[in-house]
């Protein structure tokens, strides 16, 4: 079930929901068997997108990379 609010309890905007979904997609890819190019790219993209969802206070998650 998608998150409905940020960590302060404010409803997520449509853009915030999309950002969070994109982050979750990247996170789910990190556990997959990927080519080195994909693995490194996913880790880099996850770290980048985490800054956004962290800045916007969308989740407490923290990536392992």
């Amino acid at each position: 079930m998608p998150d409905a609010t940020d960590i302060l309890g404010n409803p997520l905007t449509e853009a915030e929901q999309k950002l969070l979904a994109a982050y979750r997609t990247l996170e789910s890819l990190s556990g997959e068997e990927l080519a080195p190019t994909a693995k490194a790219g996913v880790a880099e993209a996850t770290a980048c997108l985490w800054q956004v969802i962290n800045n916007l206070g969308l989740t407490d998650d923290r990536p392992a990379c």
Binding site: I7, A43, C48, L56, G57, C65
Partner: protein
């Protein structure tokens, strides 16, 4: 939204009660993470009889013990090379750095993960964007890179923002000035001291900086970025606006920045840090408007959790309402005002190097200076300000020196401070943190002559 003056409008303008709720939430998570991933912190918290469950809101922070540099250094020495503060293994990290620091026996060694590095850069983006830097700006870094963390994060932050980054790691001062001119840099990043040095070099080379492409300077690494007289000198020399920022290797980035409104201080990035101000003697919190030691808790860096770290920096916090920019982030009036351990005791009088600099920089005749201390006849402490005189002021120097001596004496409870003329080019120049105090009171036979 893309035209926003704020890098992160959502949190930079958050009502204060919500900002505190956010800090409380992140504090709890940071303490949980530190407790479970850093052996240093687990031992520290266990010794203090406090654990993650004791932290429910930002007010609970006072239940946590302070972290000190000495404890960190001792732990690193006992568990070389990285110590138990570090919450990741070298295999999980992507970069190694050390402190440069104006104090300390040996450097602190830090490791950062990929996510940490993005966060380090992100903090710089708050500062650069907040001072009006935008995609398309050409940002020159007068910085040697290396293992000192310095402007590394700013380099990546401005790349992320879409600026054209101009690094100058292996260049000397004249070459840097030439490159700034040739590539039409619009923003220059340097320590305040080195910004002045670049300005002097431009004069020597006949380059007209006030009419150059440079519109902004981002200063960091020394308190001078918020000393009005020093900042004014930099701004006049460059014909550009200068913003102060301040950070530390222990957190890997900046925790405060000056916005375009230039309120006479720096906004604390309060969605990523809790900054407390305490009496350095008692450890008790001080009120708004009182000077004290800043204590930092950082939420962003996973490899180096930092909880209630005593910075030894002297600051004075004032409410965010002191600035008209709309941010709800409180302000350190005057930026970093010095170091707790900077104070010099001369014949019973407290002397702060920052206060000396604030006076000396009101004198455009002074090109560079040094504070020199020695013991006269083996018993009496003496202090002198050695000044290199700017070309063109030699004839007037005698009168200027008298006035400077009087101003220094007036601002140090009548302490007699000598003013000495130093030979042009004889005093050290600095690219990183300036060290302008030469204390030879312990050196037998030292004198000002």
């Amino acid at each position: 939204m893309s035209g926003s003056p704020y890098w992160n409008p959502k949190t930079e303008t958050l009502p204060k009660d919500q900002l505190r709720a956010l800090q409380g939430h992140r504090l709890k998570k940071a303490v949980e993470r530190a407790y479970h991933t850093s052996a240093f912190h687990k031992a520290l918290f266990d010794d203090a009889g406090v654990g993650p469950d004791d932290i429910q809101s930002v007010d609970d922070i006072v239940r946590l013990p302070f972290t000190t540099r000495d404890a960190w250094m001792d732990n690193q020495a006992a568990n070389a090379p990285f110590g138990e503060m570090c919450a990741v293994t070298p295999d999980e990290a992507i970069r190694y750095h050390t402190t440069s620091g104006t104090s300390g026996r040996t450097p602190l060694r830090v490791l950062d993960t990929r996510t940490d590095w993005k966060w380090v850069s992100e903090m710089w983006c708050y500062g650069f964007h907040g001072f009006g830097v935008r995609p398309g700006d050409r940002v020159f870094f007068a910085f040697s890179y290396g293992t000192f963390i310095g402007f590394w994060g700013a380099h990546y932050g401005t790349e992320k923002m879409g600026c054209l980054v101009l690094p100058s790691g292996n260049m000397n001062t004249p070459n840097r000035v030439e490159l700034i001119r040739e590539l039409e840099a619009t923003v220059v990043c340097a320590t305040p001291t080195y910004a002045l040095r670049l300005g002097q070099e431009a004069e020597n080379l006949g380059i007209d900086l006030p009419n150059s492409s440079v519109k902004r300077l981002i200063l960091s690494g020394e308190p001078a970025g918020s000393i009005p007289a020093s900042k004014k000198m930099v701004e006049e020399q460059w014909g550009a606006k200068a913003a102060d920022t301040a950070g530390m290797t222990e957190i890997g980035t900046i925790m405060m920045f000056e916005c375009e409104q230039q309120p006479g201080g720096t906004h604390i990035i309060e969605d990523h840090f809790i900054e407390e101000v305490i009496n350095p003697e008692t450890g008790e919190p001080v009120d708004y408007g009182e000077q004290g030691e800043r204590v930092v808790t950082s939420f962003g860096r996973s490899a180096i959790p930092l909880v209630r770290y005593r910075s030894r920096d002297l600051v004075m916090k004032v409410p965010h309402t002191g600035c008209s920019c709309g941010r709800t982030f409180d302000i350190y009036d005057g930026g970093i005002r010095g170091r707790v351990d900077d104070m010099l005791l001369v014949r019973g009088t407290n002397v702060y190097p920052r206060a000396i600099e604030a006076i000396v920089r009101e004198y455009p005749a002074v090109d560079e200076f040094q504070i020199y201390l020695w013991t006269k006849d083996g018993i009496r402490d003496e202090i002198a300000v050695r000044c290199e005189v700017r070309p063109g002021f030699g004839d007037q120097w005698s009168g200027i020196a008298k006035q400077l001596q009087s101003d220094l004496s007036h601002n140090t409870e009548g302490l007699g401070i000598h003013v000495q003329q130093a030979e042009a080019g004889s005093l050290p120049r600095f690219e990183l943190k300036a060290k302008r105090v030469l204390d030879e009171r312990h050196v037998k036979g030292a004198s000002h002559a």
